[in-house]
Subunit: 138 residues, 2 copies
């Protein structure tokens, strides 16, 4: 069996061609693509692909902890196949999202938590990326 398929055998879901194509597109993808981007790419190989399938597959993958849905873009959902703990640098000019591969353990004093059980954190750092900085020197 192909490596590309074997890799996902541990998932307890049917490995349909559509799902494999989406998994393949997401594998190692650092673009935090939207549903539209995923649809446009994958439908080149699968002209019959519908948006519903992309939504279905993504929801399934989120449920099985293969990708994360991220809520940084206020206009649409974006997806991230990189499941290790990491954070994001968000450019306020071009809206690009860059992975920051670090793990911060941030202590919050009990009295600030008001009974909230802390399970993790995600930091959105905002600023200007190198490319945008280069463009508009003033």
């Amino acid at each position: 069996m192909e490596n590309r398929i074997k890799k996902y055998k541990s998932l307890k879901i049917k490995l349909t061609p559509q799902r494999l194509a989406i998994l393949n597109y997401l594998e190692g993808n650092k673009m935090h693509p939207s549903v539209e981007q995923i649809f446009k790419y994958v439908s080149r190989r699968f002209p019959s692909m519908s948006y519903a399938t992309v939504y279905n597959v993504l929801n399934t993958l989120v449920k099985h902890n293969v990708v994360k849905e991220i809520s940084i873009d206020p206009d649409k959902k974006r997806f991230d196949p990189y499941m290790s703990t990491h954070h994001h640098l968000v450019c306020i000019k071009c809206r690009k999202i860059i992975d920051l591969d670090m793990d911060f353990s941030i202590g919050v004093p009990e009295d600030k938590l008001a009974g909230f059980t802390m399970m993790g954190n995600h930091i959105e750092f905002y600023g200007v990326c190198a490319q945008c900085r280069g463009k508009d020197k003033d």
Copy 2:
């Protein structure tokens, strides 16, 4: 002139009744309300209020730094009138957003930034709120 109005005089925008009603609803509001919630509340007093007006007013207020748009809810935009630096505790059960009034200065090593100019950060802490914890003891 009423206090409620005088307070916003420094804003260089027309203080229409609709805008004052929205400002008034948002003042001190810790609910991080959605457009729908704002519309439903304010249209009780202003039955002629339209969604377009709520969107217009909110966009104006964001532009004038009176409220912040927050992208935590993946389904819709939410608005926060609390403009001081703070972070959020997000309940993964009920999706409630609780303010965390702290200021973390988080150092990121130069080599991880790749030319990104850091301007600030926002931390989303996720976990389970006191109420939800109380409900489903297992």
